[in-house]
Assembly symmetry: C2
Homo-oligomer: 359 residues x 2
Amino acid sequence: MDSDRRRRPTLDTVAAAVGVSRATVSNAYNRPDQLSSSLRERILETARSLGYAGPDPVARSLATRSSAAVGFMLPQGLSGAFSDPALSIVLDGLASTVDGHDHSLVLMPGDATGGPRPSIVSRAQADVMVAYSLPDSAPAFDAVAARGLPLVVIDQPVLPGSARVEVQDYAGATSAASHLLALGHSAFGILTFSLHPDGASGPVTFERRSDVPFRVSRDRLGGYLDTLEKGGVQPDNVPVWEARGSDRELGRLGARWLLTRTPRPSALLCASDQLAFGALQAARDLSLTVPRDISVVGFDDVPEATYSDPPLTTVRQPLADKGRRAGELALKLLAGGRPPRPTRLDVSLVERASTAPRT
Amino acid sequence: MDSDRRRRPTLDTVAAAVGVSRATVSNAYNRPDQLSSSLRERILETARSLGYAGPDPVARSLATRSSAAVGFMLPQGLSGAFSDPALSIVLDGLASTVDGHDHSLVLMPGDATGGPRPSIVSRAQADVMVAYSLPDSAPAFDAVAARGLPLVVIDQPVLPGSARVEVQDYAGATSAASHLLALGHSAFGILTFSLHPDGASGPVTFERRSDVPFRVSRDRLGGYLDTLEKGGVQPDNVPVWEARGSDRELGRLGARWLLTRTPRPSALLCASDQLAFGALQAARDLSLTVPRDISVVGFDDVPEATYSDPPLTTVRQPLADKGRRAGELALKLLAGGRPPRPTRLDVSLVERASTAPRT
DNA sequence: TTGTAAGCGTTATCAG
DNA sequence: CTGATAACGCTTACAA
């Protein structure tokens, strides 16, 4: 059962074998310039033959008070989260940034509370945390604060002392809605992802529209609704469907509902491209032609938006930059920097072929 | 710059404040039964007021020689990896399993070598590693071995001392190809993902078909080709396209090429559902109707296969189980267990509407 | 260029 | 139920 429990070699083992002190062996790994290269070679060689794989990461972390890892907190489980390519792109930007600095990434999936459990956060070996689109009052935030860890927040509002990177969601939503209004549309439907972290899907009741803890959902939905209202469309008359995630199939489901209302919307505003792709699908299912019969606009501008059928009119946000920027901020906080003023990334409407004047 | 550098409280700080020994405070957190609940309450209360967030994870790890984390090694960067929902599902199964045991997940993205850099692996704070579909001789494996960490391998062949979970890829591919043969097809095209970790995309030359280091690609491609040959189809006459990832758009690209060969294939064998969805798209682009003009079969059976247009005939593999099983194995190795005999998960052909008899 | 010694914050063993 | 004391494996002044 512990046949391989024969003690693994340590710095001391190697030091003893070579006949030098432990500090010297440590230097061989961490400060090559502190010893003759011949000695260093000899040390490394001996280490290899002893089966010593280099300084133990945990012990090193304890001594340096740094674990060289950034924690990434998600609002939900992995499979839900990754059904949206937007997250993958952000995470990739983040990963490549921290990876380039020899830091690793600790993933903390969320549960029904809309974020990782506090116990997970308290025990995570990371020296900076990145929160991705967590709901406003996720318990995970308290755990981070209790540990005094630096925090960078993506897509969430002010949290004292944290660094932030955010996107002009409200403005983006506004431009999308204005675009449709300018095309002459007056019957709308809105497809949004989670408003509350309870995993509900369905038509959105009026109460559910208030106190939305997900800032992104709040801003996009608010931007759509406010703009429509300014354009003379009664928000109460706009059907809204909430999907439990940003997922194509969920979008298809919701869009089917929206497109079977009476009167039928001539334009659909979607909170993400994935949802919009689902809407495209739903339209096909109902033998409606986009954009002739109905216009669809998305949000994000993921790569597929260029290739979809038809190519999607959408609000572009710089996803990879978002991740990279979050990575840089994390690294900066790690280096002892103060949180700089929030990075606000721009969005812009990209007009493709899924929208057309109302006929 | 270090205004918050005022030393964080430690076990000793709390112990002193309460007037007990450090061990007692430790017990308050780790062995509630070892002290009176009133004392425990008092300790926890004081800790809270002192801003002590509980035992430091790193120090705890050093003392217990366990970091309560499992490392997950990927063959490529995150964005590439996550464009395939199959990975998300596997990872979710893994995450929920280890999460349930209060372990966290350390992600190690790969680079051009087809796996994470050895330096990353050497320093990762994890006490068991899971390799996901790495190429046969990834340098990452050496790093794992050097550290003497237990290893569980998903979708890769024998590595001495490691636990394995794998899927009957060859058999699955065989059944897919047989199905098409039985339908009377004789002109085929094959769409595969990476054969070699060099990120190349394009028609597959003959040399490239040998010494394929990715077992999954090797088995699926081999299963297709061998079966076709047994069915009387000359493998040399079967065009094969290699996509650099399992991604819908890359599949569309490859399928476009395959579908414009002369003679045009009447059936496409795809190494994954994502690739197959791309093929469906490509067929539409070329005004071909599936399955009337061409039959398409995928591999994986991701949820979307049920809903695609048309629903996809594909080889089902139990993705979530794969992840869960890997998680259980990791936990078992962690507990000191010996690697059990490999878990082999079954596959089965699911016939939907993307295949039809040759007309 | 190399060695000494003092931490880093815990857990664990074993008396009391 | 509580408390010394010894690990855990390493980094890092500082001294030689």
